[in-house]
């Protein structure tokens, strides 16, 4: 059974290549274009992993991660950001992302990280 991942980023360009990179490795990928969508989709805990941008127009990614983390403790969460100043954000209390990638990241980086996190 293929693993499911939700990718939340307002940048279509980023969602596009992340989706294709992961789909090529057998992931079933769903996309969210903003924070509210991400919460709605992830809130049902139907994903093995969430890849979440920290800077989205409607809501900070930390907030999304916090709520998903509370609702679905088993879900693996990877924070992604284009801003190095966000470097400590994923580690903040309550956020505690499982992984963190700074843009620009390559396709192998996201593949390897997710595979490592969801290995059973």
């Amino acid at each position: 059974m293929s693993k499911k991942v939700l990718i939340a980023d307002d940048e279509e360009l980023v969602r596009n290549y992340v989706r294709r990179a992961l789909a090529g490795r057998g992931w079933e990928v769903t996309e969210a274009a903003n924070g509210a969508q991400a919460l709605e989709l992830a809130g049902r805990c139907g994903f093995d992993a969430l890849v979440c941008d920290l800077k989205m127009p409607d809501m900070r990614g930390e907030e999304v991660i916090k709520r998903v983390r509370q609702a679905c403790p088993a879900m693996k969460i990877v924070a992604i950001t284009g801003s190095v100043s966000d470097i400590k954000a994923p580690l903040a209390p309550g956020v505690q992302a499982d992984g963190f990638l700074i843009k620009p990241f390559g396709i192998d980086e996201i593949r390897d990280l997710l595979e490592k996190l969801t290995k059973t």
Binding site: E11, N16, Y17, V18, G82, S83, V84, K103, F105, I107
Partner: protein, 516 residues
């Protein structure tokens, strides 16, 4: 020169006006006359006079009123009032209105000349003081002072002697010292005076016939000096330099009056020296502020920009790699895609270093031994240096006080400086790191110098060296941010960083950090 002074004689009695003007002309002054107060004031409005000699009782506008009007037109003009049957009262009133002095008629020509001379001298002093303080450039101030002192004291030679950075006395400004050989003898005299606390505590030291003066026993080359006047300059009760005013053969000795004038000059020089050091500090601070401003503006820009750029950059990278997966590795397309990928990584590197200097990172200050920071950094790059045939010279002063610093950030600074030095010496050379204590100027500082034997820094680029993105390295080799990062760090440490060409070639960066 006194012969060039312009004098206006205002008197309603033509014979008196004529008498005064011919007497003054005889002594080389250039004189004009006016018949009454109105005419006198009009002339002052139209021409530049150094001095007016004015009768007090005239038809129409009287002398006292005219005096006030003249001072309004030309505040610098000196006025001598001549009173025919004047009372003490009018004389005093004229002084109150700004007259330099008054003369009772009938007066002797000798008397007149004396007062005129004194008035012109005061005038000259005022002019000089104004000249001195109208320029803020310290070197110019000192030059004006020394040139004037020679003139006013009718001397042939004036010097300002100051201790240099190494403590050795040198002639900072001189007037009338033509023979370079004489400089050594003058400096030797000065060091004798400077070494004698009994002398430097005086406001003036006079030596008549220095060649025969036992204080200068053994100093050669003093034969030409008739008399020399030394004025010790003091700051915070410490001797900080000397003014030497000398008359050569066939001149009269310095009088008590001369000494008095010379003391005034000495105090002007002290003031100018103080100004000069304040001016230098001001300029340095201004430079640092401008640099800090530039960096903080760029930092804000960079922070916002990075996020905007990193998103599309991430897209370029990811998509490129996706296409590469479906491309024949042997073809040109694959090679092109590989280049795009590399270009993205280069951009990423630039952005990271840009951010690393724009980030308002907390600086963790703790007592740090600067020598240790140097040593640790050297350990990191010793191997690189060896590979590039660069010899490392350590001249680290033992027992330096600690500095309040962030050890990691200091290492970052040194690493940057060492790397730049290495890149400046592609064919090998020497890297010399010296540390020292600088106690000059009251506050103690620890100084580190990183010097290379590379090509040096041309004056055109020296001013831009610390500008963000300024680089002389080949495209892709440097981001041009290294030195701006260093500057940012050193600024946060309340220190200073400077660069200078070394006399023997190469360049030297100097760090200055306040000592604990």
């Amino acid at each position: 020169m006194t012969s060039k002074a312009n004098i206006l004689v205002v008197d309603d009695e033509p014979q008196i006006a004529d008498m005064i003007s011919s007497a003054l002309q005889l002594y080389g002054y250039s004189v004009q006359t006016a018949m009454d107060g109105e005419q006198g004031v009009a002339k002052v409005g139209a021409n530049k006079y150094d001095l007016a000699i004015m009768d007090i009782q005239m038809p129409g506008m009287d002398g006292i009123t005219a005096l006030g009007e003249m001072k309004k037109l030309d505040p610098e003009i000196e006025v001598i009032i001549a009173t025919g049957h004047g009372t003490m009262g009018t004389a005093i009133e004229s002084l109150r209105k700004g007259a330099f002095d008054y003369l009772h008629k009938p007066f002797e020509i000798k008397e007149l000349l004396k007062v005129v001379e004194r008035a012109l001298e005061k005038r000259k002093f005022n002019d000089i003081t104004r000249a001195i303080f109208s320029t803020v450039k310290p070197e110019e101030q000192l030059r004006v002072i020394i040139d004037s002192v020679t003139r006013i004291l009718k001397a042939e030679e004036s010097l300002l002697v100051l201790p240099g950075r190494d403590g050795q006395l040198y002639i900072a400004v001189s007037d009338g010292l033509e023979d370079p050989g004489a400089a050594a003898s003058r400096l030797e005299m000065c060091s004798r005076i400077m070494d004698a606390p009994a002398e430097t505590s005086k406001s003036a030291v006079l030596s008549e016939n220095p060649a025969g003066d036992k204080r200068f026993a053994g100093v050669s080359g003093l034969g030409g000096l008739k008399s020399s006047l030394f004025l010790p300059l003091r700051e915070d009760n410490k001797p900080v330099g000397l003014i030497v005013i000398s008359r050569l053969e066939d001149e009269t000795y310095f009088t008590e009056d001369d000494m008095q004038r010379a003391r005034i000059f000495a105090s002007l020089v002290s003031l100018a020296l103080r100004n000069s050091s304040l001016y230098r500090q001001l300029q340095e601070t201004q430079g640092q502020l401008i640099q800090a401003e530039k960096m903080s503006a760029l930092g804000q820009l960079a922070g916002g920009l990075a996020h905007e750029i990193n998103n599309p950059l991430s897209g370029i990278l990811g998509l490129t790699q996706l296409v590469m997966e479906n491309t024949d590795k042997a073809g040109q397309n694959y090679a092109d895609l590989k280049d795009i990928e590399k270009a993205v990584f280069r951009c990423k590197k630039i952005i990271v270093s840009l951010l690393s200097f724009s980030r308002q990172e907390k600086t963790h200050l703790e007592p740090v031994n600067l020598n240790e920071a140097v040593e640790e950094t050297l350990t990191l790059c010793a191997r690189q240096m060896e590979l590039q045939h660069i010899k490392i010279n350590r001249r680290l002063a033992p027992g330096l006080p600690m500095v309040n610093a962030d050890f990691q950030q200091l290492m970052q600074v040194f690493l940057n400086l060492f790397t730049n030095a290495r890149d400046a010496m592609p064919d090998g050379g020497e890297l010399t790191i010296s540390t020292a204590l600088d106690g000059n100027g009251g506050r103690q500082a620890v100084v580190a110098e990183v010097a290379d034997t590379g090509g040096g820094i041309s004056p055109e680029i020296a001013g831009r060296l610390f500008d963000p993105f300024f680089t002389t390295k080949a495209v892709g080799k440097g981001t041009g941010l290294g030195l701006s990062v260093c500057l940012g760090i050193i600024n946060r440490h309340n220190g200073a960083i400077k660069v200078a060409d070394r006399p023997g070639g190469g360049s030297a960066f100097t760090l200055n950090l306040p000592a604990l």
